[in-house]
Amino acid sequence: MLNISNLHARVEEKEILKGIDLEVKPGEVHAIMGPNGSGKSTLANVLAGRDSFEVTDGTVEFEGDNLLDMEPEDRACEGIFLGFQYPVEIAGVSNMYLLKAAINARRKHLGHPEIDAMDFLALIKEKIQLVKMNEAMLYRGVNEGFSGGEKKRNEILQMLTLEPKLVILDETDSGLDIDALKTVSDGINALRSPERAIVLVTHYQRLLDHVVPDYVHVLAGGKIIKSGGSELAQELEKKGYGWLGPASPDSVVSPEAVKSQRAEQGV
């Protein structure tokens, strides 16, 4: 579904992604972990098409098409959803309006007529139960005056409503209390299916107790320095990122180096 090869990206003059290779197949859940500044959010944003990041090398294919040639709105219409680390507040534009505009943009792209008003209402009422949001929030401005947890629930509501093919969640779990974390996790799990792929960008292993990934990748210094199964997340939680060696954006740790380091440590 998603094929990333040798992806390099920079913001202004600073190179942040230094050669990412990743393949995500339908039905898979991948977790991308790593310390602050490792490039996790950049990767998520580049995949969704944010133009403040410049791709300098490499390719990204989505269902066989060149993703990097597509506008952000076309990526969304093709079925890519990015859950934002910091969802934006938009006063005066209700959640309902945005949800409807988003659904209809995708339907138009696919050549379908606009959604029927009653069907839309029924859909939203069903999905909002899953994220345990008050219906009144649908009529408030997008994220306007929402708490951090409410914003993240709202991202999950959008995700559930849009039913994307590829979900990328950028630190959706950060800053959540345990109840909100469970709600968010339930929302993600509800979407897991053999046709759909999910990429979780996270700083904490906690989320992965609730949404168990098929693969865990550790990003450091703009590269994936280690990949493994879900047990890798637990190991990281126990030992910290330091376990994988110094990992600042300026000191790339090669997998070979990690291997030898691990050998030294007797892991």
Binding site: E71, P72, A76, V88, G92, Y97, A105, Q158, L162
Partner: protein, 446 residues
């Protein structure tokens, strides 16, 4: 004296002599007019060497000598597009400044709202104390020009404890009428709103124009609120693309009175507004909201001055500009907290959104505080649309143009919501959306 003045000012002396017989008013009014004309000629057109005119060059007003727009009649069909059909309201329609009773809807309004001209013709009226009494030295030369030439306007007067059941819609229509080609018209309107103790009213001042020609609309609105009176006043400016407008609002607030002003500038080629509020007695409260949306080569200058002259008064100011094309905006917010105005509570915000690299705005808060126990806050921001927010909407499938429109709408929304009067609010929203490219898809937001 004649030798020292410019031909242009000389024109206004001659014009006054020409039209004086048709101007309303008893002898005392004529004396005031003559004195005002003298002040105007002595001062001349404001120059941008003056601090409050620094960013507004009045040369467009001096390019041609304006003649007082003559009486003209319009049909209901001519003004249909400017009415607020869904609003249950009283309506006074002024054509080239003069009340047109046939187009107006004043049943049951009685003496509450009348033509200022008819009131001025009374030999001795309370107007003698009221007219030009709210300016307190803060007017400018073009307000004097207005006093000299004012043909009519609304005189709204509420008795003590009178609560008006419906808003009053004052519609001012400028029309070329049977204008000769080389003539340029000026419309001179003067409004006086006086609210008695504990009274309440909502007044919509709506300025529009017909035709393709340049004209100069010079108006003054005087407002006097007695103790505990409440006035909501909405000024909607939708002049034609070649119109020049200079408007001055002077309000004097009594004890515990409340004045909420919503000013919206959508039209006009060159626009200058002065809003001057005196908080003269304890507990008075004023809210000044302003929205200006110039595009192309439009120029809109908003100057506000609030005098906190008494203790325990509250002022709130919120001005927002959305500037596109090569337009120019000015906001100057002067707040003076006088020596005895302890416990003043004042907040001022101005924000401008530049949609184009060629648009320009000068926004300046100006605070003078002479009391020591006060709370004053102010902030001014100028910026572009938030790229992160555009990306957020794009990532939900909206194209870049739709995302920009939605965010622009969102920027103005809070101010528009506060207008409160639904049919008027919708008209403002439609006016705003009409200025955004391809905003049809936003219609369902309204």
């Amino acid at each position: 004296m004649a030798a020292q003045i410019s031909p242009l000012l000389d024109h206004y002396l001659a014009e006054f002599a020409r039209v004086q017989p048709q101007l309303p008013g008893a002898d005392w009014v004529t004396e005031q007019r003559q004195a005002a004309l003298k002040r105007f000629v002595e001062a001349g057109f404001p120059s941008n060497r003056m601090e409050t005119w620094k960013y507004s060059d009045t040369r467009p007003l001096q390019k041609q000598p304006f003649e007082l727009a003559p009486e003209s009649t319009l049909s209901q069909a001519d003004v249909e597009a400017f009415l607020l059909p869904e609003l249950d309201c009283y309506r006074l329609v002024f054509v080239n400044g003069r009340l047109d009773p046939a187009l107006s809807e004043v049943v049951d309004l009685g003496e509450t709202a009348v033509s200022l001209a008819s009131a001025l013709n009374e030999p001795l009226t309370s107007l003698q104390k009221g007219l030009n009494s709210t300016l307190n030295g803060h007017g400018h030369a073009l307000s004097d020009l207005n006093l000299a030439f004012a043909v009519d306007g609304a005189h709204i007067r509420l008795a003590d404890n009178q609560v008006l059941d419906k808003p009053i819609h004052l519609l001012f229509v400028a029309t070329p009428g049977e204008k000769a080609e080389d003539e340029a018209h000026m419309v001179q309107v003067r409004n006086l709103i006086e609210l008695g103790k504990n009274s309440e009213a909502t007044v919509i001042e709506h300025y529009v124009g017909l035709g393709e020609d340049a004209y100069f609309n010079d108006f003054v609105t005087e407002i006097r609120l007695a103790d505990n009176a409440r006035l909501k006043r909405c000024r909607l400016q939708e002049e034609t693309g070649k119109a020049m407008q200079v408007g001055a609002t002077h309000a004097v607030l009594g004890r515990d009175s409340h004045f909420h002003s919503h000013a919206v500038d959508l039209g006009g080629r060159w626009v200058r507004n002065d809003t001057v509020v005196g908080l003269q007695a304890e507990g008075a409260e004023v809210h000044l909201d302003g929205l200006y949306v110039p595009t192309g080569r439009q120029h809109v200058d908003n100057q506000t001055r609030i005098d906190h002259a008494s203790p325990h008064c509250i002022s709130r100011e919120d001005y927002k500009g959305i500037l596109d094309g090569g337009s120019r905006g000015v906001f100057n917010g002067k707040i003076i907290v006088h020596k005895d105005a302890q416990k003043t509570d004042s907040e001022q915000h101005s924000a401008a959104l530049l949609l184009s690299g060629k648009a320009e705005v000068d926004a300046k808060p100006e605070l003078e505080i002479y009391a020591d126990d006060v709370k004053c806050a102010h902030g001014a921001t100028v910026g572009q649309l938030d790229e992160q927010a555009i990306f957020y909407l794009q990532s939900r499938g909206l194209d870049a143009a739709a995302a920009r429109n939605l965010l622009t709408y969102s920027f103005a929304d809070e101010l528009i919501q506060r207008v409160g009067i639904e049919p008027l609010r919708k008209r403002i929203e439609r006016g705003l959306l009409a200025r955004l490219p391809n905003a049809e898809q936003l219609q369902e937001l309204l």
